[in-house]
Symmetry: C2
Amino acid sequence: MGRVLGAGFVKKGHAVKLGTRDPGAEKVKRWAVSVGSGASLGTFSEAADFGELVVLATLWSGTESALGLANPKNLEGKIVVDATNPLDFSVHPPRLSLGHTTSAGEKVQALLPGAKVVKAFNAVGNPHMVDPTFPGGRPTMFIGGNDAGAKKTVLELLGDFGWEGVDLGGIETARYLEPLAMIWILHYLRTKSGAHAFKLLKK
Amino acid sequence: MGRVLGAGFVKKGHAVKLGTRDPGAEKVKRWAVSVGSGASLGTFSEAADFGELVVLATLWSGTESALGLANPKNLEGKIVVDATNPLDFSVHPPRLSLGHTTSAGEKVQALLPGAKVVKAFNAVGNPHMVDPTFPGGRPTMFIGGNDAGAKKTVLELLGDFGWEGVDLGGIETARYLEPLAMIWILHYLRTKSGAHAFKLLKK
């Protein structure tokens, strides 16, 4: 997910440093070569320091560790797009490891008290994150976060990425946005096809 | 919601008995007159006994009491469409009073062990439940339940009602479908407009 979104940000004219536990690994080196100028690699700390806006795209089980390596001080005052889902893969189908009274979005905000966390990009599969093409038009990405300015920026980015962004409220709305990811995932597992996305129809 | 869906079932050619705590109340008598032949009124028990398929459209706080009055024996072997959401209105915006490890759908199935409970019609406002008209085509209603035959019937009904029904899995998927209702509700509260519905885009 990080590689897909990273390539998307480069495509949209931004410079991207992909943070990784192992900047020498072949798969991330191949990513940097394929994306070309605008893309670079670094440690989590280097990437967190580099970004004006930072995307968190980690497996849930590695999220707290990754944020520790990134160093929360590097993220102070910055927008952090939280694309994680708190999935428990020890069962099949996977389930959410937390919810209802809390959420991954709220946990991330608590781990990064100085950052402006915005839940986004969590309820769709990788192939559709950048410039999705569906009959029926732009899909909808719901977002939530506590900072109005940060959400305005993320809504603009979503527009650049071919989405209609819809702001649902504070970061606690991740309690609803993470279950939405489960609907996407369950439909994927039932149909063996990830060629779907949500749209909010309006009139 | 019960009056809207009841009128919808009559419109689609079914006979409907609307169960109510007070069959003599003006608002339900007006409903029966306006819907015309095919519509009748009764107690919860009479309605549960009458229906081949029964729709549960109660405030969550009154659901357990309503099912007791309906008498679970009247619902044995029958399809029960659970359109409830476990909303807690003591706070604003409302929130779900339960979730993550359980759901209203699962509670209803536990209260009606002999019935075939199908979660449906819970993630849209009343004005769009029957023959919704949105630019962009039919909206999607996700459903969940443990009985395959019951879900087949509900998917057919959803088609008759102008929806695309999508089966997500067992009744425990209500843990995701009830948060989806919260997304509908929060967007309604933020925009002061209920003219929206979800669609699953596919290709």
